[in-house]
């Protein structure tokens, strides 16, 4: 049987997951995930054509509240755990390419 997830696919999934995995991890995970996915295929024994998907077991509905301003965390607490800050901002590397701006 062809693998459910080969190394190339594992790399793609790692990219989607924003995980910079090592080659070793790609190798190890694709084998382990294959075993899990093959097991999961068990679900295909069941005909679920007429079954509704159940995302949540209790009836949940929108929760509304009055539109009243309440106390919030505030800038200082919000930034307290940030790896890098600049005054009242989170600091990240440049996102826009300079060359694209011209």
């Amino acid at each position: 049987m062809s693998p459910k997830i080969d190394k190339a696919q594992a790399k793609k999934v790692a990219k989607l997951s924003r995980l910079d995995l090592t080659e070793n991890e790609i190798e190890e995970f694709s084998a382990q995930l294959n075993a899990v996915l093959e097991y999961v295929e068990k679900m295909n024994e069941l005909n679920t054509d007429d079954v509704q998907p159940l995302a949540h077991c209790l009836p949940v509905s929108n929760c509304f509240r009055e539109d009243i301003v309440k106390e919030s965390l505030g800038t200082e607490k919000t930034l307290a755990n940030a790896p890098q800050t600049d005054n009242e901002f989170f600091k990240v590397p440049k996102i826009l390419d300079d060359s694209a701006a011209t």
Partner: protein, 489 residues
Amino acid sequence: MHELTAIQLRDKIKAGEITSTQATKKVLQAIEKHDKIIGAYISVFEKQSLERAAEIDKKIAAGESVGQLAGVPVAVKDNMCTTFGATTCASKILENFHAPYNAAVVQKLLAADAVIVGKTNLDEFAMGSSTENSSLKQTVNPWDTTRVPGGSSGGSSAAVAGRLCMAALGSDTGGSIRQPAGFCGIVGLKPTYGRVSRFGLVAFGSSLDQIGPLALNVEDCALMLNVIAGHDPNDSTSVDEKNAPLCDYLENIDKPVENLKIGIVPQFAAGADKQIQNAINNAVELYKKLGAQIIEIDLPHFEYAIAAYYMVATAEASSNLARYDGVHYGHRTENPNDYIEVYSKSREEGFGKEVKRRIMLGTYALSSGYYDAYYLKALKVRNLIRTDFTNAFEKVDSIITPVTPTTAFKIGEKVDDPLQMYLADMYTISANLAGIPGISLPCGFDDNNLPIGMQILAPAFEEQKLLRIAKMFESKTDYHKKKPAIIES
């Protein structure tokens, strides 16, 4: 103090027979002495808990009213936010994270005058069944230090079993309270989804996660549930009490349930070790003697629960853990080449193996081309599993099963085979998929003197009845009174 339950200690503290300071000191001494070996705690708040104990003692001495957990030393799993100490989730990515607010349950413990002595170890982000996936430390089973305590609430379970606190909070996404309670010979309750606020619980599988107590007996569990249950406007999935009224879970706890109908599932027995099967059969016999009617029931989709669970749970996890971006909080890689590497390298460095595996699995299940075959299929199977329980509970009040197919396994035995590790959750997982409550309580010991756990499941919001049913068994047995040898040393 080893002989006291949390309720008894609370009553003695309130009556002035023992002070909270004395009790807290005893617990801190026990931690000092035994936690080097057991490894239950990630952080211990020595100074803070003694100060708090002194405050409560003062209140009592002044005749002021005190809460339901007055002066009782308790522990909290380290995936619940606290403004004191770190909230690590046993992950490198959150190792230095200091939460800006307390989880709702932490706030409730404090309001009930509990003394929080420390935060306990877990599988990283609660992903695991042995606490071996902790990136910070190893916890061992107090009954046999070469074995795992179970997981993911392994630290809380080992702390309670090792008498390193009087009771603790855990979280249960697929059995993470009930399974370690079973392995450690204590009582663990997963309440109905929505009964307890998840506000401030670091999210793993949001439609499955539920906080609950671990304690030395059923009554202490009921007391803890009394403290933590209830609606919270900060958690939109916590249930409106108008629809599902709260009750005093200690009320009538000694009163046996009349006309009790217990369901057993013959197909379950085959999966468990012989000694576990025997212990469960003996427990069922005891209920029969107490007047219960035993009815065989069928849960036809039970064998698909693990497959459905690992799709739903990992899909939700991959989405929930997207928040660890190296920008807002948590670990950031040192020299990223660009902003993408801030994410991908920070996450690669900060997450442990099992967490990465589950993010990968969940991302795969949600990705274009696979969504229908895996995620959507799993949600449909989930519906079938819930319907199985709805049908079963038309015939019975509760269902008895083993908690686990084996007793506590050896450290290292399953770490390299995630699928085998997942299969260890076979009895507990379906309660999370169906959202129903379940309790794990000691019902025997195997030849290696390792605890055997029994699981009792009940319909949604029937915790009061569930606790009474559990108490019927506990009051006729003394498995819960046995202590691991390590704590007597």
